[in-house]
């Protein structure tokens, strides 16, 4: 009898030990880190986190509440990392004890809903785009647009302008570009994540702008390329800094990223709109991640940085599939050097 129960007790004890060991092991590898911010990068981050979770077990919980929300949450230390389309200046970063680095590059494209105009057919340049958004060009038959599009029949309808109703990094890159190419825009409206739009209606999020442009005839809006391609909208061709008419796409985004001067920007605080490259897309945008230089929870910070290392070194196929541009290898190396130097 005694041996019967002793064996049972030994069995239960070893089973319990095994289970506890298994749980511990599971807990160590199945960490979870939280992030918040840019809606621009949300499709890619959710794909990366799904793939990383199957590879590694670590879950990334990302809330796409907008760049401003991401900055506010990381400053309040309620998340492990923030994502923003608008880079913070070195002073702001130093004040909050944050480090900043780019993770991926995308592009903002103007989209139109005009009868008979297919994707990539309409040609615009920065000045004309600024004048449309200022309300100075009000009809599709305006001579400025006709001059850029000699063979295209556009009709005489009024242009309905669509912009973002919520503050956003997508807006920031768009108006930053308009400020660079149009002194009139710069003095009248300026740049920011939310501006006082002279004309037009506001849609909430990239999805809202896409929905409005699709619903309203003879409208123009601006969305991130992935949204334009996924919903099959007519994007336009833009004249860039070098004077060439560029079609938006991965090649033109890559050309913009390559021609940008990353070396000169402290903490990578660089906005790459109106890039000088010959084939560069003029409204290219980088997405930046913000983390603490001296995080309170070292283990979570380590897990987060491992995720970003994986994303930067191995995440290129997912980025390409979703129409983003992965960072060039030289930039990835400088980012990893920056991590070693700045993040403890």
């Amino acid at each position: 009898m005694k041996t019967f129960w002793t064996a049972r007790i030994h069995g239960v004890r070893s089973l319990a030990a095994l289970a506890a060991a298994g749980l511990l092991v599971h807990a160590a590898s199945a960490g979870e880190i939280t992030g918040a911010g840019s809606t621009f990068v949300y499709p890619l981050l959710s794909q990366w986190s799904a793939d990383y979770s199957t590879a590694n077990g670590t879950k990334i919980n990302y809330q796409s509440i907008g760049s401003g929300g991401g900055i506010a949450q990381i400053k309040a230390a309620t998340v492990d990392f923030g994502a923003t389309d608008k880079p913070l200046s070195s002073d702001e970063l130093a004040q909050s004890g944050l480090a900043q680095f780019p993770v991926v590059i995308g592009g903002v494209v103007p989209v139109v809903n005009v009868e008979g105009v297919a994707a990539g057919q309409l040609r615009l340049d920065g000045t004309t785009l600024a004048r449309i958004y200022l309300g100075q060009i009000t009809k599709w038959s305006d001579p400025a647009i006709a001059a850029l599009n000699p063979g295209l029949k556009l009709g005489d309808a009024d242009i309905s302008v669509v912009h973002r109703s919520d503050g956003s990094g997508t807006t920031f890159n768009f108006v930053n570009y308009l400020s660079k190419v149009s002194p009139d825009w710069k003095s009248k409206v300026g740049e920011g994540t939310s501006v006082a739009w002279p004309v037009g209606v506001g849609g909430k999020g990239n999805e809202g702008v896409a929905a409005y442009v699709k619903q309203i005839n003879n409208s123009i809006g601006y969305v991130e390329l992935a949204y334009a391609l996924k919903t099959g909208m007519s994007y336009t061709v833009l004249k860039n800094h070098s004077g060439n008419m560029i079609t938006p796409g991965l090649e033109s985004f890559e050309a913009a990223a390559a021609s940008a001067d990353w070396g000169s920007a402290k903490d990578f605080s660089l906005v790459i709109t109106d890039a000088p490259g010959a084939q560069a897309w003029p409204i290219t945008a980088s997405v930046f991640v913000l983390v603490y230089r001296q995080p309170k929870d070292a283990a979570r910070s380590k897990t987060a940085m491992e995720f970003f290392r994986w994303a930067l070194e191995k995440g290129q196929p997912q980025a390409k599939a979703l129409n983003y541009v992965a960072l060039p290898p030289s930039l990835v190396k400088s980012i990893e050097k920056y991590w070693a130097a700045e993040i403890k």
């Binding site: 907008g66 503050g167 909430k204």
Partner: protein, 330 residues
Amino acid sequence: MSTPSAAAIGPLVDDARVAARVAVEARQDAAFRVVLLAAAAFVLLVLGAAAASMLWGGRDAFATFGWKFLVSDQWDAVGHQFGAFVPIYGTLVSSAIAMVIAIPVSFGIALFLTEIAPTWMRGPVGAAIELLAGIPSIIYGMWGLFSFVPFMAEYVLPWVNRNIGQVPWIGPLFRGPPLGIGMLTAGIVLGIMVIPFISSVMRDVFRTVPVSLRESSYALGSTTWEVVWNVVLPYTRSAVVGGIFLGLGRALGETMAVTFVLGNAHQLSTSLLMPGNSIAATIANEFTEADSDIYLSSLIALGFLLFVVTFVVLAIARLMLHSLARKEGR
């Protein structure tokens, strides 16, 4: 009535146990009254605290802009100039349009369900109306944007623009490009949203009219309309007005449905066909991205102003009811 002590009851009652029991129950009654008082006080406290915290959060905006905050139509996040006029105007006008549509329709529904419909129909139709109240407001917004807006843009608004837009006095109100989204569309969607609230209150109070009152009126030869207008409505007046202001309160604070179809444009325009903005939609859209302190303070101040607007509207309702009651000698 003061609580009788055991000693006071003692002489009146034979059994001392009964007297003790009565005293215990009187104490329980007093405790119950205190609990109810605490519940009422709690509600008032929460209301006051919410208003005070929003006023506190908005103090920067009021201090910086002063009275101009209420009348300025500027909304510039880059230049840090904010004014509440466009959101307030949008909230009031879209709610007014909603009421103009909802009140007659709700009245018609309540009338139909209490006087005209055969008894077998009243249950299902009533249930269908209540189902409308259960639909989440974001579904109204999506339906509004994807089904109603194209319908308005293609069929209704061009007609309105051509015909009503040319009439001398009210023409400019109805003139504009047929975008589909705008004040008129938002008002119509809001109206559809508040119909179930107003109609269910009206239907319930119409049913409380004593049958004898109605039947005597019918017996004297009144038509259905005369009964409703002269007997039922005066009897239920204050409850009907209460129901209307319940619907108005919902329309004033509605966020998601409005932000889908109003256009979120910080522009003032006389035309109802043009887009505008409302207080709730502005706060919902811009709160997470408010990147400067004055911006955040302006948004909180807007919230406080919505409080004030709702309070003023409710006060007008109470005053109206009071003067109506006084005219009737009550």
